[in-house]
């Protein structure tokens, strides 16, 4: 007799429309985001610190940390070669999650005066 498996934890649901103000990023994730963002902007200065902190605040309001981690993984792993890489390209949520992150970051760029403003 097959025992009914005990399923623990919430099922991963496609909740790109996470509740606003989720703001549940751990400190490590916040610091990592800001440091990477500053490096991408070319220098570590107060200028980039303020803009990147602003960007993080915006993204963290738009997405839960778990969604952000999932979207970031989809974005990074998209080009994984070979048959296995298909799991990062083919599933419907791959594009949706990447798009949600792209949208949040585009809004953040505008709101935080990043790039050309």
């Amino acid at each position: 007799m097959i025992q009914r498996p005990l399923v623990l934890g919430a099922l991963a649901v496609l909740s790109v429309s996470a509740p606003a103000h989720a703001n549940d990023f751990p400190t490590v994730a916040r610091v990592e985001y800001v440091v990477k963002c500053m490096n991408k902007m070319g220098e570590q200065s107060y200028d980039t610190l303020y803009k990147c902190s602003c960007s993080l605040d915006h993204v963290a309001e738009r997405m839960s940390y778990d969604d952000f981690a999932e979207a970031s993984a989809f974005a990074m792993l998209r080009g994984t070669p070979g048959e296995k890489g298909g799991v990062f390209r083919d599933p419907p949520q791959a594009g949706e999650m990447r798009e949600a992150l792209d949208t949040a970051e585009a809004e953040a760029r505008s709101k935080c005066l990043i790039g050309g403003s």
Binding site: V13, L14, A69, A73, G79, E83, K84, G86, Q93
Partner: protein, 602 residues
């Protein structure tokens, strides 16, 4: 039936040469000391279980990062480091660097970087990973991507000997971790997507001379199969058991590669491994059972002779490579203690066999979504294929939809763990299905010989249960073939698990989290985000009396591939590149070893 086989095994064990015992005993004593992590699976049986219990279910929540080590190499970091005494040995993907780290101060004692022809890269089907090192006889062994097997002086990193195991120009490459058994080192070959004819080979650890070589397909003598003595589910396989199951000379490009893990039982002197998919993914053009692809093998470690075989997926139609690890445990089934071999196949079935005789005891789905076969016939061992999901019956240029699992299997190479305290297996799994369309393809040496296009998506799309998770981390009872608990993960779980006497099980996720869960209930006790996705295997060891947990992160991704392949333009490479400009912005894609410990006094 059992008695003669057991006495044969005893004879085989006694036949070990006196000089041979040294390395074997060394590996056994190194792995018996839980302070070390001396072999990929923690022990020869591949249990990935540690007796260490300083870190336990009560205090694992207090874990902190003790130190990190960046390998400076992009691409996927599979496997995990070895630890012996005061030294840790870390390997990397292509170009296959090795670092010896002094654990006292985390400085590099020596490093090794082979010069390998970058032409090897494009003939590696699935990223240029490497699954790790072996140690014995004062040497560290590395199976390089270009098929060179090297023995390095463990103290200095100097090359002691090297031997070529294959030819990348024919599509032969290597990703596997070799294993030292007795006075030999056993290794395999990759390249099933290039029509490579798989084999396992043993070299003498003293000088790298070849001891034996056994193919997965072809004439009996080249497979080291004895038609009368080698058995399949208790019956002699008979003459030409492979040749009869291929059309013409197809066995010569028959696949059955051997890129997975090797385990070993010193009592029977048998080495266990699985062979991969048959050549070309298009099943229509290769009629027959395609033996012995997709097969579990038990071979005498000294002679290479096959004791038994079991083909799990005759005439593969889905790329369900049979290479996953075979974990050797002793457990009670129907009131009787049995010497078991437990294998979680890509095909979605968890198999429990008698590892001495090859008798099939349990074969059940460890992902309930598995639908390509209804069940395994326990008499014949054959899966009962569901016609709707048969890519052969549907034919070439027909898209078979909703097949579960996808080609990467319900589980790939990432090894499971076993805790003797709970009697449970902890299995990182995929929960992904696919559409599969075979097409005609001509074989050209060194060119991909795949012949199928596929598309993958969460299993929930097929089962209709509304879920979108692509992985589960499960606890499995191999004596009954039952899932005990199951943790949904958003991504497939591609990291190897670790179980400890502290009642904790560790695994990593593709988002990059190292997770610790309660071994009895699955309750999450700890989660920490490492720099990148984890496809490495979690290990544990002690240094100066303190327990550490270590795992490699780093999965590659296109940016890493672009940099490593020397691509400079924004739109070169694998497409979809415009969003990112500077590869150096994404240095977190590089491999990082993260080492965890409890604060003092915790």
């Amino acid at each position: 039936m059992y008695k003669p086989l057991q006495s044969l095994a005893v004879l085989a064990a006694c036949a070990v040469l006196p000089g041979a015992v040294i390395a074997n005993d060394e590996v056994k004593s190194l792995t018996a000391d839980a302070n070390n992590w001396a072999i990929w699976g923690g022990d020869y049986a591949g249990t990935r279980y540690s007796e260490l219990d300083q870190i336990n279910a009560g205090n694992v929540k207090d874990l902190q990062v003790a130190w990190t080590f960046s390998t400076g190499v992009l691409r996927g970091h599979e496997g995990g480091p070895l630890v012996m005494g005061d030294t840790m040995y870390i390997h990397t993907p292509f170009p296959n660097k090795v670092f010896a780290i002094n654990l006292a101060d985390q400085t590099v004692k020596w490093s090794y970087e082979p010069k390998q022809n970058p032409d090897t890269i494009p003939v590696m089907c699935c990223d240029t990973v490497n699954r790790g090192l072996a140690f014995a006889d004062g040497k560290v062994f590395l199976q390089q991507a270009d098929t060179t097997l090297v023995a390095l002086n463990a103290d200095t990193g100097e090359l002691v000997w090297s031997v070529k195991n294959g030819d990348p120009a024919k599509g032969e490459t290597n990703t596997n971790a070799p294993v030292v058994i007795n006075d030999k080192i056993v290794t395999g070959i990759s390249g099933g997507e290039f029509g490579v004819r798989g084999f396992v080979v043993a070299y003498n650890i003293k000088d790298g001379s070849q001891a034996w070589k056994a193919y997965s397909t072809g004439p009996d003598d080249e497979m080291l199969i004895d038609p009368e003595k080698t058995t399949h589910l208790g019956q002699p396989v008979g003459g030409d058991s492979s040749l009869k199951t291929w059309e013409g000379d197809q066995w010569k490009i028959g696949g059955g590669t051997t890129w997975g893990w090797f385990t070993y039982d010193p009592e029977t002197n048998l080495v266990y491994y699985g062979s991969g998919n048959p050549g070309t993914w298009n099943p229509v053009v290769r009629p027959g059972d395609n033996r012995w692809s997709m097969t579990l093998w038990a071979r005498d470690a000294d002679t290479g002779m096959a004791k038994w075989v079991y083909q799990m997926t005759p005439h593969d139609e889905w790329d369900y490579d049979g290479v996953n690890e075979n974990i050797l445990v002793d457990q009670e089934i129907n009131g009787e203690m049995r010497k078991l071999l437990v294998h979680f196949d890509r095909n979605g079935f968890g198999y429990t066999l008698d590892r001495v005789t090859g008798e099939l005891l349990v074969a059940e789905k460890y992902d309930p979504a598995t639908n390509w076969a209804s069940h395994i016939d326990m008499e014949t061992g054959r899966p009962q294929v569901v016609a709707e999901y048969s890519t052969h019956q549907n034919g070439a240029d027909v898209n078979s939809e909703g097949i579960c699992p996808a080609a990467l299997g319900s589980k790939d190479q990432q090894p499971a763990a076993y805790s003797p305290k709970t009697g449970l297996f902890y299995v990182p799994t995929n929960h992904v299905c696919m559409d599969y369309e075979p097409f005609e393809v001509e074989y050209v040496a060194g060119q991909p010989y795949v012949g199928a296009t596929l598309s993958m998506y969460p299993a929930g799309k097929v089962t209709g249960d509304g879920s979108s998770n692509m992985g589960n981390f499960i606890a499995w009872d191999a004596t009954k073939g039952e899932i005990v608990w199951s943790l949904p993960e958003r991504f497939s779980v591609w990291s190897g698990a670790l179980a400890t006497a502290g009642d904790v099980v560790f695994y990593g996720t593709l988002e990059g989290h190292l997770k610790a869960v309660d071994s009895k209930t699955g309750k999450e006790l700890y989660s920490f985000k490492t720099p990148s996705g984890i496809i490495g295997n979690v290990n544990t060891y002690t240094h100066d009396g303190k327990q550490y947990v270590a795992v490699l992160s780093g999965i590659g991704g296109w940016a890493g591939i672009g940099m490593a392949a020397g691509l400079e333009g924004d739109t070169e490479g694998l497409g979809a590149v415009g969003a990112y400009r500077k590869l150096s912005d994404y240095t977190q894609l590089g491999g990082v070893l993260t080492v965890f410990a409890l604060p003092d006094g915790a």
